[in-house]
Symmetry: none
Subunit: 401 residues, 2 copies
C-alpha cells in the first residue's frame, strides 16, 4: 500500500473528501488524417477548464513499455505497487464475473473441451461452444459435491467458466490440467510442494466427478482447468490510509477489484448517470470515492475512434455535476491507455490531473496526451497517485523532523 | 551516500569548487489574485540571468506527495537517500539547538509536566511554562549525576528541553515515559530487547533523581521524555566524495545537519551578509560549500507572501558577490517548498539550477516553478543533486570501460 515505508507514521484523518474518477482506457493515439488523438479531437470545455487550475501530468501504469490489464492498472491507481501485489488469473476471472472471493479461496479458469473415445483431447475449447449450450452444463458441474470442499462453478462466456474452491488450506501451488496440445488426455493436478498435495487430491476428485457428469455430452464432454490462484491478500486500502472508501462502478470487474482492497462497493445502476446519482446520494458517508467510467475503454477496444471521442465528451458533460459536490480533491485518471487505432490496451502514458486548493494551474490549457507532459507532475508512476491525493487533502503529515 | 553502487570507483579529486546555495523552503504557490507564485512575483535579475546559462529542473525532495521535514530535506541535498538515512526526533532536537552528538550518544525530547499529590499527570506541558521559568529548572536537571552515564540537559523553549546521554552501549530501543494522557503517572522506561535493558535502567535512575530534584516546583514538578534516538551514523560526506566540505549556516539545525554528515561547520554571523563574508574568507580552504539561506522558509512559514518575495529578492542581490568567487559549480536549490498560502512545508517539487562551464542554457528565461519543469533535468529526485554537482565539477570519472 503506497510505496512509502513510513506511511503509517504520517497518515492522518481529516474531513476532506477525495473523488477519483477513473476513465478506463483514457489515453489514446492520433487516428486517421487529423493527427489528433481522441482527447485532442473531443470538445472538452469542462475538463479543459479544470486542467487549467490543476496539477497535471502523464501516469505510467506499471513501467515503460508495459501494457497493463485491468488488475495491475487499477491496483496502481489505488496505491499498490502492481509488481508487488499480483492478482492471479483465476482470481481475476472470478472477480470479473462478480464471484465473491474470501481469503483462502482458490479459483481457476475453466474451459469445456472435447475428447475422443480414448479420452484424448481433440478440441481444447469444445468447438467454442455457445453460451446457450455451455451455461446449463456449467450449472450441472456446480452441483457436484466433494467432501470438505465447497465447489462453485459459474459460467463466464461461450466455452469458459470459473471454478471457485472454498475449504481448509487450499494452495495455488498446483499444476494445470491443460496439456496445451491435443491427442493426449487432460493432465492430473499435481501439488508442487507438500502443503499442496491435499489440494491437488481434492481437485482431482472434483475433476473425476466432473468428467463423469458430462461424459455423454456431444461436444463439451471434458474440461480443462488453469490459472490456479488464491484470493489475493492485499493490505486494506481504508485501514492503511485512514479512509472510509467507497466504489461506484457498473462492471463486476471493477467492483471486484475495489472489494478486494476492502472498499465498500455501493450498489448502482448500469449507466454513468445512475453512478453519478449514487455518488451524490452517498456523498456524506465516505471520504474517498472511486468512480469508474467504462465507456472510454469499450470504445477503444472496439476500435471506434468516433465512439471514444463521444464517450470522452459525455464524461466531460458530467463534470459540473461532480464539481458541484465540492470535493476537496478531484482526480481524473485512467488505468491505462486504449488507443482506438490499436483496439486494445496499450503501454502509453495516461493523461492525469489532480485538482485541489493547493493547485493553481500551470499553463496547461487542454487535457490531452500532447500537452499534459508539460504539467508539473511530468511523467510519473501511477502508484504515486494516492500519495498525491492524500497530500492534497491534508491527510499526510510531515515526514521526518 | 549518493545512490550509485560504484561511486567509490569513479570519484576523483580535482581543484574545482562547488558552491551549493540552499534557499530553505524555496518553492511556492500562487497567492492572491495574481496567480503568480512568490518566485514569479519577485524581481530576480541575477538569478534569472544565471538560469539562462544553467541546467534547470524541479527536484522532488523525498517522493511524490511527501512533505519533508528539514532533516530528510537536507540529507537528500547532501546525496543521502532520505528513506535510508533517518534522523530520529530526539537527535534532531539536539542538533537543532546546537548540542553536539557523537556516535553512540542517545537523545530525547523532554517536556516539563505537572503532577498532582498522587503523582498523576494533570498537565503534560506544565501549563506551557515560560522559558524564563523553565530554563533554570533545566539547569538543575543538568547537574544530576548518574554512575557511568554523562547526562546533559539543555533547555529549548518554554516547557521543552533536550536530554543527551553519553555512555557505553546506549540503545534507542526503549519506551517513552509520556503516557499521552493525564490522570496517570509518567511511565517507566522499558527496554524493547535485551541489549536495551541497561539503558532503560540507567535512564530510570536519572528520571527518579530528576523527579526528586523538582518535586517541590509549583508547576514544573515532573517531566516526560520521548523521541529516543541515537546519534545518526551516516557515511562521511567528505570521505565518500573526496571533498573537503564546509558548511556556513546561521541556524543551529542546519549547522547540526552539516556536522552530522561530517562537514566542517564554520563559525559565522546571524545575517546572510555575514555568511557570505564567511564564505569569502574561507573560499581557498575548501572545495565544497553548503551555504544555507533561511529567510525564504521563515517567510513562507509565517504565511507572509510579500515577505517571501522580498527574501528571494534579497538572495538575488547577493548572487553577483557569490559569482565573483568564480565557483566551478554553482547550485541554487531548496530542501522543500514552503508556499506562503500554506504557511507550512509542502510536497511540491522545488526549483533547481546548476551552473558550470558545462551548462549553456536551455531556453529557460526565468527561475520559477512553472518554467523550470521545461529544463533539461525535468522533475527529478533531490538525492541525485550531488551526483550532478560532482559531474559538473569533473569529480566523477567514466563509469565502466
Amino acid at each position: 500500500m503506497i510505496d512509502f515505508p513510513y506511511l503509517k507514521d504520517i497518515v492522518q484523518t481529516t474531513e476532506s473528501k477525495i473523488l477519483m474518477v477513473v476513465a478506463d482506457g483514457l489515453g489514446g493515439l492520433p487516428g486517421g488524417d487529423t493527427r489528433q488523438s481522441e482527447l485532442e479531437t473531443a470538445s472538452l470545455p469542462n475538463i479543459n477548464r479544470l486542467a487549467q487550475e490543476s496539477a497535471c501530468g502523464l501516469s505510467t501504469p506499471v513501467a515503460l513499455g508495459i501494457t497493463p490489464g485491468s488488475g495491475p492498472g487499477h491496483l496502481a491507481l489505488f496505491g499498490y505497487d502492481p509488481l508487488v501485489h499480483m492478482i492471479g488469473r483465476g482470481a481475476l476471472e472470478a472477480i470479473g464475473i462478480g464471484l465473491e472471493l474470501k481469503p483462502g479461496d482458490l479459483a481457476a479458469r475453466g474451459n469445456f473441451a472435447t475428447t475422443d473415445a480414448a479420452g484424448n483431447l481433440v478440441d481444447r475449447r469444445a468447438g467454442r461452444i455457445s453460451t446457450e449450450k455451455a451455461a446449463p452444463i456449467a450449472e450441472r458441474l456446480n452441483k457436484i459435491e466433494i467432501p470438505n470442499l465447497e465447489v462453485t462453478v459459474e459460467h463466464v462466456l461461450d466455452y469458459r467458466f470459473v471454478v471457485r474452491l472454498r475449504g481448509e488450506k487450499l494452495s495455488e501451488d498446483i499444476s494445470e490440467t491443460d496439456p496445451q496440445i491435443t491427442g493426449v488426455p487432460p493432465l492430473r493436478v499435481e501439488g508442487f510442494n507438500k502443503g499442496a498435495l491435499n489440494t491437488a487430491k481434492a481437485i482431482n476428485m472434483f475433476v473425476s466427478s466432473a468428467f463423469k457428469e458430462i461424459e455423454n455430452e456431444p461436444i463439451a464432454n471434458s474440461l480443462l482447468l488453469r490459472g490456479w490462484a488464491n484470493a489475493p491478500s492485499l493490505p486494506n486500502f481504508g485501514t492503511s490510509l485512514g479512509l472510509n472508501p467507497a466504489a461506484i462502478a457498473s462492471y463486476p470487474m471493477y467492483r471486484g477489484l475495489a472489494s478486494i482492497v476492502g472498499m465498500q462497493v455501493i450498489k448502482t445502476g448500469t449507466d454513468f448517470s445512475a453512478q453519478v446519482e449514487t455518488l451524490k446520494n452517498n456523498w456524506s458517508a465516505h471520504d474517498y470515492f472511486f468512480l469508474h467510467y467504462k465507456h472510454t475503454d469499450s470504445a477503444g477496444e472496439d476500435g471506434d475512434f468516433g465512439k471514444k471521442v463521444t464517450a470522452i465528451e459525455a464524461l466531460d458533460s458530467f463534470l459540473p455535476e461532480l464539481l458541484s459536490l465540492e470535493p476537496d480533491v478531484l482526480i481524473l485518471a485512467g488505468d491505462h491507455s486504449t488507443p482506438s487505432i490499436m483496439s486494445s490496451h496499450s503501454w502509453h502514458p495516461v493523461p492525469f490531473l489532480i485538482h485541489s486548493k493547493w493547485t493553481r494551474g500551470e499553463g496547461i490549457s487542454r487535457f490531452n496526451e500532447r500537452e499534459l507532459r508539460y504539467g508539473s507532475l511530468g511523467i510519473f508512476e501511477a502508484k504515486h497517485i494516492m500519495s498525491l491525493a492524500m497530500a492534497h487533502s491534508g491527510k499526510l503529515a510531515k515526514f521526518g523532523p
